[in-house]
Symmetry: C2
C-alpha cells in the first residue's frame, strides 16, 4: 500500500508543529514581558522560550530533510492569533490567572500534537524523527506539569493581592 496520502498529512502536521512553536514563542514572550510580580513564573517562561527556539530548529531540520518550506501563512496567522490573545487577556483584571491557564492549555495542545506526530512518524516509517518528537514532548510535559502544579499558588497570590487592593495583583 502506498503511503502517499499519509505522507502528505504527515508533512502538513510537521508544518503545523513548526507554526505552533512560532506561536508559542510569541505568546510566551508577550507574557514574560508583561509579568512583574510573579517572578518564579516569569523565570520559568523565559527558560521555556529558550527550549521553544531549540524545538523550532529541530523541526526545521526535519522539514529541510523533506524539502518542505516552513515560512507559511500558518505561521503568520499563528503569531497574529498569539498577539490577539495577549491583547484580549491584557484587558482582564485577572490577567495573571487567565494567562497562566492559557499557557497550560497551549502546552497541552502541543502535547496532543506531538503524540499524534509520533503516531504518524511511526506509520510512515520516519524512525529518525521519533526520538526528536519524544524529546520535545518531554520538555512540553515538564513545562505543562510545572504550570499545573503552580496554578493554585498563583491563584492564591492573585486573590490575596486583590484583597489588599494591590496593583501588584494583575501581573
Amino acid at each position: 500500500m502506498s503511503h502517499s496520502q499519509a505522507l502528505r498529512h504527515y508533512h502538513d502536521w510537521l508544518k503545523d508543529a513548526h507554526a505552533m512553536e512560532k506561536q508559542a514563542e510569541t505568546m510566551l514572550g508577550k507574557m514574560a514581558d508583561r509579568l512583574q510580580h510573579y517572578h518564579e513564573l516569569k523565570f520559568r517562561i523565559q527558560q521555556h522560550i529558550i527550549e521553544t527556539r531549540q524545538q523550532q530548529n529541530q523541526l526545521e531540520n526535519i522539514l529541510n530533510r523533506y524539502n518542505i518550506s516552513h515560512s507559511s501563512v500558518k505561521e503568520v496567522i499563528g503569531k497574529m492569533f498569539a498577539i490577539g490573545q495577549a491583547i484580549a487577556v491584557s484587558f482582564a483584571e485577572d490577567e495573571i490567572v487567565k494567562g497562566t491557564m492559557s499557557c497550560y492549555v497551549f502546552e497541552n495542545a502541543e502535547l496532543a500534537s506531538y503524540t499524534s506526530l509520533i503516531a504518524a512518524a511511526t506509520y510512515v516509517g520516519d524512525k529518525e524523527s521519533i526520538p526528536i518528537f519524544e524529546q520535545i514532548f518531554e520538555q512540553e510535559r515538564v513545562m505543562s506539569d510545572w504550570i499545573f502544579s503552580h496554578l493554585p499558588e498563583i491563584t492564591n497570590k492573585f486573590l490575596t493581592l486583590s484583597d489588599q487592593q494591590s496593583i501588584k495583583a494583575k501581573l
Copy 2:
C-alpha cells in the same frame, strides 16, 4: 482582611465555569453528531455529554446558592465560539484528528479552571463546593486521559483509511 475582591473574582470564575460547560456540551454534541466511523470515540463523547449536563446542574446549584444569574453573554459567546470552531474544523480533511485534539485541549482548559476554582474556593472558605469541583475535576481528568491514550490509535486509523482513499477517513 475582607475577602470582597476575592469573592467577586470567585463568583466570576463560577460563571466562567458554567459557561465553559455549556460550550463543552455544544462542542461535544456537534462532534458526536458528525462522527460516523470512529465508534468508540463517538460513544465516549456521548457518555461525557451526559456528565457535562450533570456538571452544569451542579454548578447551577452553587450559583443559585450565591444568587448569581447564570444566563449570561459569556454563555452565548461560548456557544457561538464552539459552533464556529466546529464549522472551521469541518473543512479540514483531517477533521477527526484535529477534532479529537480540540476535545483534549478543551478538557485540559477545564482541568485548569477547576484547579484554580478549588484554590479560590479554599481561599474564600466555600468548603461546601470543594468536593463538587473535585468530583467534576476527576470526571474531566478521566475523559482527558481517555482521549490522550486513544489519540495514537485514532491518528493511525485516519492515516490507514486515507491511504486506502476511503471516505471513511475523515469522520
